[in-house]
Subunit: 416 residues, 2 copies
């Protein structure tokens, strides 16, 4: 049973619980469940956290938040998933950590990230699909919410690291419009792509969290009566989607149409296909610069996959990179035009259910285009395959239309 941000807040407002009790419940859940899941690399000291919670004020008082260990925290180690930075204790919090604290949240721990938020798995287990990957790179953040340890976590997406683990773990992931949430204080991999995001139990929860942290009007519109104009976006990589995922998208489209939404098919423009194909050019070129010194001095402590990506980035000419950036800019304009007469696109958030085994974090193929264009993406949860494994879809809105993406996801997840 997942914890709910808005549920806890309502209970606090009704006097049914207190911020301190809510934090205590989260810490109890972590103690009980994390030995099996392995979602945390560090959990704060109970006494200190309860004292913090007792003093908390603001819209997130009583909300326990886990922070992906790619973000700096002044009161907890921040090692970015790699032994190269083991024991690192930053002087100051990352911007989003400070923003959450100012809104009253209690930061209870650091969640597992893959090394440098790249592709190598990190050992966290999927709470709803034992024996299957939780996805990555925000593995711990998705699993911590899925297992009911905390109501909310923070993650990042450079390829598909928010929406994909959310899909695999059956929780709501929200990747805001590019730079709506500052990236200051998180370990840069690719400055053009790195995006901070959130996990929670529902679209309403994740919207409440993000609104409180950013001071922006992101609260979801009431589901009743608010029928979005929907584009079904099968995309140019449709053949990568499993049969159950294809069926799940169609089922969602049908259900939305029955509930009164306008539903049309949207084909993928060639500019978007071209941009998806150069995602790794941009990512690797920038990562090779962002991690230049680390690659030179600590390359022997990096995984073969990471070394390969960084070497490929180093071998990319600035001209090739500039060309990829131009394609990305064209794609951004083209992506904007997709939303003429459409509120959101619905599209798979992953090729299918979580792959079996912990040897891979799965594929970001359905995510990286939207990371590159900077459009807001919100999970649409609820579908599952014949084994009961979650099948994650996502709602994508125009750049800057985060509230619309969140509201549409809320509407879609509340269809019966």
């Amino acid at each position: 049973m997942m914890q709910s941000v808005t549920g806890i807040r309502r209970a606090i407002e009704k006097g049914e619980t207190t911020p301190q009790e809510a934090i205590r419940a989260a810490l109890d859940a972590i103690d009980k469940k994390d030995p099996e899941i392995g979602a945390y690399v560090h959990v704060g000291e109970r006494k200190a956290l309860l004292e913090t919670a007792a003093r908390a004020t603001g819209p997130l008082a009583g909300i326990a938040v886990g922070i992906k260990d790619i973000f700096d925290t002044s009161d907890m180690p921040s090692a970015y998933g790699t032994p190269i930075h083991e024991g690192h204790r930053p002087t100051v919090d990352a911007a989003i950590v400070s923003m959450l604290r100012r809104a009253g949240a209690t930061i209870v721990g650091k969640t597992v990230t893959t090394a440098y938020a790249f592709l190598d798995p990190a050992g966290t287990r999927n709470p709803v699909a034992p024996g299957h990957t939780p996805g990555g790179s925000s593995s711990g953040s998705a699993a911590a919410v899925a297992a009911g340890m905390v109501p909310a976590t923070v993650g990042t997406q450079t390829g598909g690291s928010v929406l994909r683990p959310a899909a695999y773990c059956g929780v709501t992931g929200y990747k805001p419009s590019f730079r709506l949430v500052p990236t200051v204080g998180f370990k840069t991999f690719s400055w053009t792509l790195d995006t901070a995001g959130f996990f929670a139990a529902s679209a309403e929860d994740v919207a409440f969290l993000a609104a409180a942290a950013t001071g922006r009007d992101l609260t979801v519109e009431p589901a009743a009566g608010n029928r979005p104009r929907i584009g079904v976006f099968r995309s140019a990589v449709w053949e990568e989607a499993s049969r159950p995922m294809r069926d799940a998208l169609q089922a969602l489209a049908d259900k939305a149409a029955r509930a009164g939404a306008s539903v049309v098919e949207i084909a993928e423009p060639a500019e978007l296909t071209a941009a998806r194909e150069v995602h790794s050019v941009i990512q690797n070129f920038e990562a090779a610069l962002a991690l230049s010194d680390e690659f030179d001095r600590f390359g022997d402590r990096m995984s073969p996959k990471l070394v390969e990506a960084l070497q490929s980035g180093r071998d990319t000419s600035p001209q090739h990179y500039d060309q990829a950036r131009r394609l990305a800019r064209q794609a951004r304009r083209k992506a904007h035009a997709l939303f003429d007469g459409i509120d959101v696109l619905i599209t798979p958030a992953a090729p299918g259910a979580a792959p079996e085994g912990l040897g891979s974090t799965g594929s970001p193929i359905f995510n990286k285009l939207w990371t590159m264009t900077g459009n807001p993406c919100v999970s649409v949860v609820g579908a599952s395959d014949s084994r009961g494994l979650p099948l994650g879809l996502q709602a994508v809105a125009a750049f800057g239309q985060d509230r619309l993406a969140l509201s549409a996801a809320h509407w879609l997840e509340n269809l019966n």
Copy 2:
């Protein structure tokens, strides 16, 4: 007498000196001159630096570089000009530091930055205008080159922190197109504005340095025969320019015309004026988030001016910030259109010569528009007022046309 990047390189190639000797000369100059100038907060250990230099290969072997102490260096303290981070020793180098080392440069020390690269003066003296400010925030980087201590330094510009100190100290500053040089590993103040840049003795030198560090084709075109199409851009803040500065701009335009350049007057579009006026809205809103935790916990160790800026950022609504960002985007498009038929604009790099006293770093009024639009800017040195104080002009090219800006500045500074 300034040291010259290309001069040292030519001497090495001719066998007249060695990389180690060139670094030794820089260290000797620092020992001799810095006690009076105060350009450095830290100088590396001589023996280790000479050993590094002896092993150096690449286009920058033998080039001593000073790094503004807003950048992380793994082998030297990195305190961002503030006691809040005193003694901080990062695990890894900032991207540009690593890029310079990979090209063979020897990083000899950290140069003085104002606290957080903001406006409060930091005590460095102006080598060519005793008793006058060297400008800021890259005070030490400009002064170190001007005093002949090193041939090259790295700085940053969020308002006018490269071009303005370059103007006041009579050296060449180069602010590349936005994000041409990664900002990874420098202390973020405003992610939309923060730009890494370079200082050297001439446009040719700064171009050689930047080309070697970035692997991009930035080498200046030969001055002979290459007559740029020039727009004289007096700007909407022309009344802020001193009489000698106005005369210097006119004199440069006249000289260029006599040398065969086409010279036209370019008026400032209203969109650019509007953008200049909201520069501080964007800067302060982002700084308040970037330094959120520091402001909360260490605000009592910040200057009144910085506290005021951060508080103003905190008091700015996201809607107001978003509106400012929209104006900035419009200005970027409009700035691009200015270069239809024009290679570069020439415009003051500062209101006048370095103001007297060390109580202020001067005004970024002639710089912040171009920081916001991301256009490349290169100093045009050579003019001076009746007191012999340098009057800095700048050449501004279209976004991405860095080589053109550098080449035009080279052509202009070689007019007699």
